[in-house]
Amino acid sequence: MAVTPTPTIRENTRIAHDICRMRVEGVPRGEPGQFFMLRAGAGMEPFLSRPISICDATAAETVFVYRTVGRGTERLSALRCGDALSVGLPLGNGFPLCAGEAVLIGGGLGVAPLLYLAKRLRQIGVYTCVYTGYNDETFLQAEYEEAAGELHAKNGGYITDMVDFSRPATYYACGPAPMLRAAARKAREAGARLYVSMESRMACGTGACLGCSIPTADGNRRVCKDGPVFDAAAVFFEDRV
């Protein structure tokens, strides 16, 4: 079952009640906003691989942060160093990098992929203002304090309520669909450019099966191959009418 790169798990620990961080070596480095299709063990069970975004990456190491919600993520969370894991190759189109200033809005597990983006933006000299929204426990706050220009965290309620969309900045959002929809509306009203990272149930992750297709202003688009990052104006186009 091994896909070309054979990853080695260096760490797989719980960083909050139902959230784990896994550090993996030996996989190609992806871009912020890209994801991998993960599967635990060497067998066929569960059948489909699980899409998990890159939370952070160096040339040597890739970090995933994921919530255990069902069978697949439970099995991932049970892995230990040395256990078999397959991740495939980095997939999808990541976040377009901007110049000037960036506002990052993460809700729930959506805070994970934005960390890698924040770090990358910082490297290229973009000032980042990060909003992180949680429902109960917070996580990755220490990392963001290091990576973000400014950091606003909120526990409970709508993180989008805190965000000022009138800044001369590029906006990036990742999180549950209702949050993305709210962000898209506010960005549209403020005339701001917003990139969102979408979720959809996936089988192949490579654009082959059309299982993850969503309607957009530009016709059907595959979340796995054409996304997962889209211009919010294209995917929430129906709200405009």
Binding site: M44, A208, L210
Partner: protein
């Protein structure tokens, strides 16, 4: 190292009898980052309809024990687009090109088949077994009479070898297979997906907007294998066998049951390298068993 897997299907020479199943490999480029598609025996492209389609709304894929349900509903760019564009890109991949043609009506199939004569391809696979269309699709494949009728009509217009793709949901698949053979099919592909269902118990509703969807993956393998065995015993035309093939052992079982080639669908999702591993496994098997060609074990059961 001598290639012991070369296979000829209705005059079409293939490097090996391992083919990507329709709808699971796009038009051949989706897995380019994983491996060179030229390693495959062939690729069956996504099912086409005459005028293209956006496919079904709502959830489209759902995991099940050792398998998956899909309700894509033949999202595709249409026959003309394939004939003008996709087929040339597929040809450039360096492997046999199989064009899968669906339809909502008899007229669709016939017109689609005619237009495809302009395409650069090797085999026409007539999909009368898609369970995810409101009209047409599987309806044609459920009974021998309708299956034979549409087979004869498409055979009359196409220049390509015609494989008819059968549905396992038919009452008597052997009877449908024979009727298609008699109607002029040059070969048969089986099986397409099984009609299945999933429930979202939280929401107290069916997962899929269409309620029913198509089951594939290793779960169905024992049933698909049985059907391939039954059909191969009953017809003389070559059969492309499929349904849950996920490793070289299961591929070999289908060949032993009488299939001339195998198609691999859902397994590629779980393991992008599945087809490459199957090809390598079959080649090693031939070497260790001293078979100069894999065809030697065809139908040995």
């Amino acid at each position: 190292m001598k290639n012991r897997l070369e296979t000829t299907l209705c005059g079409v020479k293939m490097k090996n009898p391992v083919i990507a199943a329709s709808g699971t490999f796009g038009f051949g480029d989706a897995y380019a980052a994983y491996f060179d598609a030229a390693r495959l025996g062939g690729i069956a492209g996504k099912g086409l309809t005459l005028n293209g389609s956006l496919g079904n709304k709502g959830v489209r894929v759902w995991e099940t024990p050792a398998g998956m349900l899909n309700s894509i509903g033949l999202e595709n760019p249409g026959v003309r687009h394939f004939a003008e564009t996709e087929c040339h890109r597929m040809r450039a991949l360096g492997t046999a090109v199989i064009c899968n043609l669906g339809g909502h009506s008899e007229a669709d199939y016939i017109e689609g088949g005619r237009l495809l004569n302009d395409a650069d391809m090797d085999i026409l696979e007539l999909n009368i077994s898609c369970p995810n269309l409101k009209a047409g699709g599987m309806a044609f494949g459920m009974r021998a009479e309708t299956a034979a009728d549409i087979t004869a009509k498409v055979k009359a217009v196409t220049h390509f070898p015609l494989f008819v793709k059968l549905t396992p949901n038919a009452g008597d698949i052997v009877c449908v297979a024979r009727a298609c053979e008699d109607a002029g099919a040059d070969g048969l592909s089986l099986v397409n997906t099984f009609l299945g269902m999933a429930v979202d118990i939280q929401q107290r509703r069916a997962v899929f907007d269409n309620v029913y969807a198509g089951l594939s993956g290793p779960a169905i393998q024992p049933i698909a294998l049985r059907m391939v065995h039954q059909v191969c015993k009953a017809v003389r035309v070559p059969v492309m066998g499929m349904g849950g093939i996920c490793d070289w052992q299961s591929a070999l079982a289908f060949l032993m049951a009488g299939a001339s080639a195998v198609q691999v669908g859902a397994a590629t999702f779980a393991n992008p390298m599945a087809m490459c591993e199957i090809i390598e496994g079959l080649q090693r098997y031939c070497e260790s068993e001293g078979l100069s060609n894999i065809g030697a074990i065809r139908g040995c059961l």
